[in-house]
Amino acid sequence: MFVILCLLCVGIGMGYLFRHIHSLKRLENTISYTIFIMLFVFGVTIGANKTLVDNIGDFGLQAALLAVCGVLGSLLASYLAFKVLSGKGGNDEK
């Protein structure tokens, strides 16, 4: 966990320092390739797991519930933010 956070910070710092190097612009692609590989591996793990495959509908329902809750929470929070922040006169004035 600590490693992950350090790597993220080091990555951001190095990326900012070397932002003029052209090959860094191609990172979006390599990120996609890494994600393709990892999700394929993740898919294999899920496919080989009998309990998971048999209950995929159940897991889908739980996922849908969590997604709806997250969206509802964001909607209410952003409505609150809208009231609070525009009450102060928008985002450029003052």
């Binding site: 990555g11 932002r19 294999v44 897991f59 739980q62 969590l66 929070a77 609150l80 933010a81 809208f82």
Partner: protein, 208 residues
């Protein structure tokens, strides 16, 4: 971006098929998500964040009011995800908040959850929660893409940004600027960047 999303989903389903057909030998190789691959991904995400012109946009537009929206998004999402744990008997508050912490970044969040959860709960539970995180965050992205006009008219111009989560800076930016107005674009980009940094932080916190 949309195209690469489709490839991602295709890779995932081909993986599932291979797992179902290929049986134990292939699964043996894939039993543990390669940690170094995750590290490589994280460092790339960091490099990309740092080198991206968007980081400059963010630094030039840092105002307290612009940084508040991501905090509202995080608070709202986590609060309601925590409440979902009342209905979901299998998962506790922290599990539900970990899934919510994906903020529609389904690829990274599900992989991180598998990785972190495995240490504390074993591969079986970790894979289950990772699957739920993947599906939940894909559903959230879809809801953000297709619901933007409704959210904007009912809950104000910040709502499509907030629901889009991390995707407010890329996949959902076109819909957001269409329904919330062009001047929301800097806010949407900052929102995405702040959340992208928070995803690994929050997930590692909730998966302990």
């Amino acid at each position: 971006m949309m195209k690469s999303n489709l490839i991602v989903i295709a890779c995932f389903f081909i993986g599932i098929l291979c797992g179902m057909l290929g049986g134990d030998e292939l699964a043996g190789y894939c039993a543990k998500l390669p940690t170094w691959l995750l590290y490589a991904l994280i460092i790339q995400v960091g490099l990309n964040l740092g080198s991206n012109g968007e980081m400059g946009t963010m630094l030039r537009n840092v105002r307290i009011s612009n940084l508040l929206l991501p905090l509202f998004t995080i608070a709202g999402t986590l609060l309601f995800s925590a409440m979902a744990s009342i209905l979901l008997k299998t998962w506790n508050v922290y599990d539900c908040m970990a899934v919510g912490s994906g903020f529609a970044y389904y690829s990274l969040s599900s992989l991180l959850i598998v990785q972190f959860k495995e240490a504390s709960a074993g591969i079986e539970i970790a894979t289950q929660l990772g699957t739920i995180a993947l599906l939940a965050n894909i559903i959230r992205e879809m809801m953000a893409l297709f619901g933007a006009p409704v959210y904007a008219s009912l809950f104000g111009k910040f709502a499509p940004v907030s629901v889009a989560g991390i995707n407010s800076m890329d996949v959902c930016l076109p819909v957001i600027s269409r329904y919330s107005g062009k001047n929301i674009i800097p806010i949407a980009i900052i929102h995405g960047i702040v959340l992208e940094i928070c995803v690994p932080l929050l997930i590692s916190l909730f998966c302990r």
